[in-house]
């Protein structure tokens, strides 16, 4: 018998682990979307008749199907502003305007090209700062009073603007802080849109049986998808079942509802199962990372004490709200960085534009602000003539300090992480010699703080013990490749003191696995661990009660350990759980545990408790820069994250490697490119660069910091380290060359232009 960890590994390498992509049902038809070629256009007419005439075409879906009131036509992670197919306007290049169902995917593709859509092109806006100017084209003419907006004090859209959310953080008096400062310095940093590039594309298969809808999806949020589908069909959520197997990567792209609403509506119209699989090119216009512009201004005393910081962030939300409201919230709160600063003012804006939808992306909201504040902090130190490490030491948050939100921070380890990173690259030692005469070497550091989850959340875990002694963990956590099921098995075994091999973890099915907010925000291991602990305590209590009943004693007299119960009157070697259940005539026991967090901040001041605990990381990089080409070579990278307690070391280290890989690609070359009409110009993996193995530095190391106490809190690692990597590399470039680039990626051409702008004097 093998543990889930090994079983999954074997199933993966032998091609036997199930993916939604492999789901095939009898009578299943295939869909293809009709997408807008315009960034912003009124839809005058949609005529599918030429497509319907093609042999093998089953049906087409247009806005006409959404307007008779049978369906609720919108969905969305927060504001329901995204129509299943466009109703009045197309809002970005690639927006879904109609869809066709056919017997074969190839026929659907051919038919989609035959749907005639008449557009009236409208002026478009792509830049979030421009989109806020008076007179800018409106992406949504009306939001309040038209779309369903959940009761959420954080999210406050306004009609007549593209402003989707404005988050404020106010602490102290920032103007007074600047007045008291000896040195005030302001910069602007920016980072581009990206695409997630999960190996597996978005896929959803929907089937109706009578009034019951079943959807197989590669989603990170099965319960959320269930509820959105129930709302679309105006049925109770129990009528919708969402099944999730393993995901071929997510990185945030498979959060909330993506293609499930369309698949379900198409299956409803076609009266047969329908599968939607996006092409790689469609992937690039379906989910993107928020492009952001960050203006940051700091006031500092001559001795290197930070006294004031003001930050203004514009997140480009794209055409639909999705999670952009909470991204502004989390980014606004995190924008100061892990520093003790008495006077703080932050304004974070999430802005609608005619770009493809920006959605959660590994490192959510924080990558953009960390790129700004860690470069800016480094630059401040250098301009003051201080060592960047020493400058950070003087200003880092320590346990007991108050964060920008006013909350007192405990269990924080920024100083230790930063020192660990510095040590790893021998920060105080001599720099390694350059490998060629035209190259120069430098090193850089970065340290970051990140929230866990952007909203209050609850997770439930059920444990089912049957009379054969098998223990099943029922959880709606999704295995995205991070090994969630293996961790569940391991933590259940630990909590119940039984071998990992006897624990089963079935795949997610909302009909049987209990409610969960979603596998996002590096929250799953933490939430599951605590919910599991509560469920295990419940199961132990039930076992003790059962044994007490069978052996006529009290539960207090019963010991539960090692998969057995020990009670006065029972055999001395104990009774295996299965035998206990059989003896008592009980078929199975089901225990439950829940864990929830409550977080709250005032949107006018940002004051409150913004995260149950805080994720913490530091990175250190050594780079070599070719002064003739501007190309940056990453020689050494170290990533230190706070883990609290490591459950599965190889998988935990792989999360840090994954974060490092994402981070170095974002620093060096990853970028979604658009033309002037809002069309993605690199929507394929030949032109859009993702990292190759050879991009990973030969010298990489990682630290997973653990607390010394016996049972410390687990900290999520899925995205913690990522935001620290690009600024560490940017700071190393500055150290090596004197060049400070405010914008990633640090392409050779940009570096060379900056080197040449320095002039020959600085080049020596």
């Amino acid at each position: 018998m093998r543990a889930v960890r090994e079983r999954d590994a074997i199933a993966k390498v032998t091609g036997q682990i199930p993916y939604a992509l492999n789901v095939t049902l009898p009578g299943m038809a295939h869909a293809r979307c009709v997408r807008s070629p315009y960034a912003h256009a009124r839809i005058v007419a949609v005529d599918p008749s030429r497509a319907l005439a093609l042999p093998g075409v089953v049906c087409a879906l247009t806005r006409d199907d959404l307007l008779d009131g049978q369906l609720f036509p919108y969905y969305g992670a927060a504001i329901k502003d995204q129509p299943i197919v466009a109703i009045d306007k197309a809002r970005h290049v690639g927006d879904v305007v109609a869809a066709v169902v056919a017997e074969e995917p190839e026929i659907a593709a051919e038919a989609a090209a035959l749907v005639d859509v008449e557009y009236e092109e409208l002026p478009a806006v792509f830049d979030p700062v421009e989109a806020l100017r008076p007179g800018a084209p409106l992406v949504h003419e009306q939001i309040v009073g038209r779309y369903e907006i959940p009761p959420n004090p954080i999210l406050r859209p306004q009609n007549g603007t593209n402003l989707l959310n404005h988050m404020k953080v106010r602490r102290g008096d920032v103007e007074r802080g600047f007045a008291e400062a000896d040195f005030v310095f302001e910069e602007v940093y920016s980072s581009p849109a990206l695409h997630h590039c999960a190996l597996e594309p978005h896929v959803a298969v929907a089937r109706w049986e009578a009034d019951q809808l079943t959807v197989w999806s590669a989603t990170q949020n099965p319960y959320f998808v269930r509820d959105q589908l129930a709302a679309i069909f105006r049925v109770p959520p129990e009528r919708v079942r969402v099944i999730v197997y393993t995901l071929g990567g997510g990185y945030g792209s498979k959060t909330y509802a993506r293609m499930e609403p369309l698949a379900a509506v198409l299956a409803w119209k076609a009266r047969r199962p329908v599968k939607v699989v996006l092409t790689r090119a469609e992937e690039f216009v379906t989910t993107t990372k928020h492009e952001a512009r960050v203006r940051i201004k700091s006031g500092v005393k001559r001795d290197g004490t930070l006294v004031a910081r003001e930050v203004e962030i514009h997140y480009n939300a794209g055409a639909y709200a999705d999670r952009s409201g909470t991204i502004a919230r989390s980014g606004g709160i995190g924008a100061i960085g892990p520093y003790r600063i008495p006077h703080v003012k932050v304004d974070a804006y999430a802005v609608y534009t005619n770009r493809p939808n920006a959605v959660p992306f590994r490192g959510l909201a924080i990558s953009q602000v960390a790129w700004a504040y860690e470069c800016h902090t480094d630059e401040l130190a250098r301009r003051l003539g201080l060592d960047p490490l020493e400058f950070r030491r003087r200003n880092l948050l320590h346990p007991g300090d108050r964060f920008a939100t006013g909350e007192v921070l405990e269990d924080i380890h920024f100083a230790e992480l930063l020192e660990d990173a510095a040590r790893a690259i021998d920060y105080h030692g001599p720099l390694p010699a350059p490998s060629a005469p035209e190259r120069v070497v430098g090193r850089g550091l970065a340290v970051i703080i990140k929230h866990m989850g952007s909203n209050p959340a609850t997770t439930r875990i059920d444990l089912r013990l049957d009379a054969a002694g098998a223990l099943t963990v029922l959880s709606s956590t999704v295995d995205i490749g991070q090994g969630a099921r293996a961790v569940l098995a391991r933590e259940a075994a630990r909590a119940l003191d039984i071998p990992e091999e006897v624990v089963q973890v079935p795949f997610v099915e909302t009909g049987t696995t209990p409610p969960d907010q979603g596998t996002t925000s590096s929250r799953s291991t933490f939430f599951n661990g605590l919910a599991l602990r509560a469920a295990a305590a419940d199961l132990r209590r039930q076992l003790a009660e059962l044994a007490a009943r069978l052996y006529e004693t009290t539960p207090e007299q019963v010991a539960v350990r090692g998969g057995r119960v020990f009670a006065p009157g029972a055999p001395a070697e104990g009774v295996p759980w299965g035998a206990l259940l059989s003896g008592a005539g009980v078929a199975s026991l089901t225990a439950s545990g829940t864990f929830g967090t409550q977080i709250w901040v005032d949107p006018e001041t940002g004051q409150g408790k913004a995260s149950h605990h805080w994720h913490q990381a530091a990175a250190a990089a050594i780079v070599e820069v070719d002064r003739e080409t501007g190309k940056l070579y990453l020689r050494r990278l170290h990533l230190a994250t706070h883990a609290g307690r490591v459950i599965d070391r190889p998988n935990a280290e792989l999360q840090n490697e994954g974060c490092a890989t994402f981070g170095l690609a974002q620093a060096l070359f990853e970028e979604l490119l658009f033309d002037d009409n809002g069309q993605v110009t690199n929507p394929n993996l030949a032109d859009y660069m993702i990292p190759a193995l050879a991009d990973f530095p030969a010298a990489f190391s990682t630290t997973l910091a653990e607390n010394p106490e016996p049972d410390p809190e687990v900290h999520g690692l899925g995205e913690t380290g990522l935001p620290a990597v690009p600024p560490a590399i940017g700071n190393a470039l500055r150290d090596a060359t004197g060049v400070r680039l405010p914008r990633i990626p640090l392409l050779p051409e940009r570096v060379l232009a900056a080197l040449q702008a320095q002039g020959p004097a600085a080049a020596s």
Partner: protein, 290 residues
Amino acid sequence: MPDLLLHQPRSLDEACATLARYDGAARAIAGGTALVLMLRQGLLAPPALVRLDTIPGLDTIAEVDGTLRLGALATLSAVAASPLVRARVPVLAAACALVGNVRVRNAATLGGNLCEADYASDPPGVLVALDARVRIHGPHGARELPVAALVRDFYETALAPDELVTEVCIPLPAPTGVYLKYVTRSAEDRPCVGVTALVRHAADGRLAEARVAVGAVAGRPLRLPAAEALAHGAVPDEALFHAIGQAYAAAAEPVSDARGSAAYRQQMVAVFVRRALRAAAAGQQGAWRV
């Protein structure tokens, strides 16, 4: 991908006759690494494909009468691994090993690479520097062209629609040197600039000959005989490498793409011609990604 007819000829004559029958509308397919992407993206919609891998004997690599003959269907992996190529023209073997990734190299063929005439590719420039020629089979018999004349412009060759490249021929002994593949983004990116520099030394240590081909910056690899001639009888020093680099940079008419603007490429041509010449003159042999 739309339905299309797949022809499986057993001989070159049959393949050319089939291509002729379609009057330019059909496409020959070897490794398919480029063609299949174009079909999938709808950039091409031929009614038929003509397989070349069903024709025996097109992937042979041999040395015949002082010429290295590489069958057009030899994969880039096979060229990279061939003991003969590695011994006689190490720069070509090493350059082929830098193309794309291992999955691409195992399928892509040397002939297909030339006939695609993608500017952002490694082998064409190397072959141009080697004075390689291609043998072409057509309905009216065989002919030969220098690779430099085969590749005309972006995705454009001198082949008639019913002609096929059958062999790539490299005169031996080839001068020795290096290929530098400069990538500006991921390690698996195509080249921003690819420079081949090959030299022959005279007995006195001076250069008897230098050849430089600059690839990936324009529609076809660039060779400048006048600039190469600066090396004849010259002492191989930095001033010479610099002068040749400047001459190539001045003559290049680079394209702008996501890998680099025209202005940036112009500067990189000077840098990498100089560096490639320096390495070749120092006796280095091989290909490097930088």
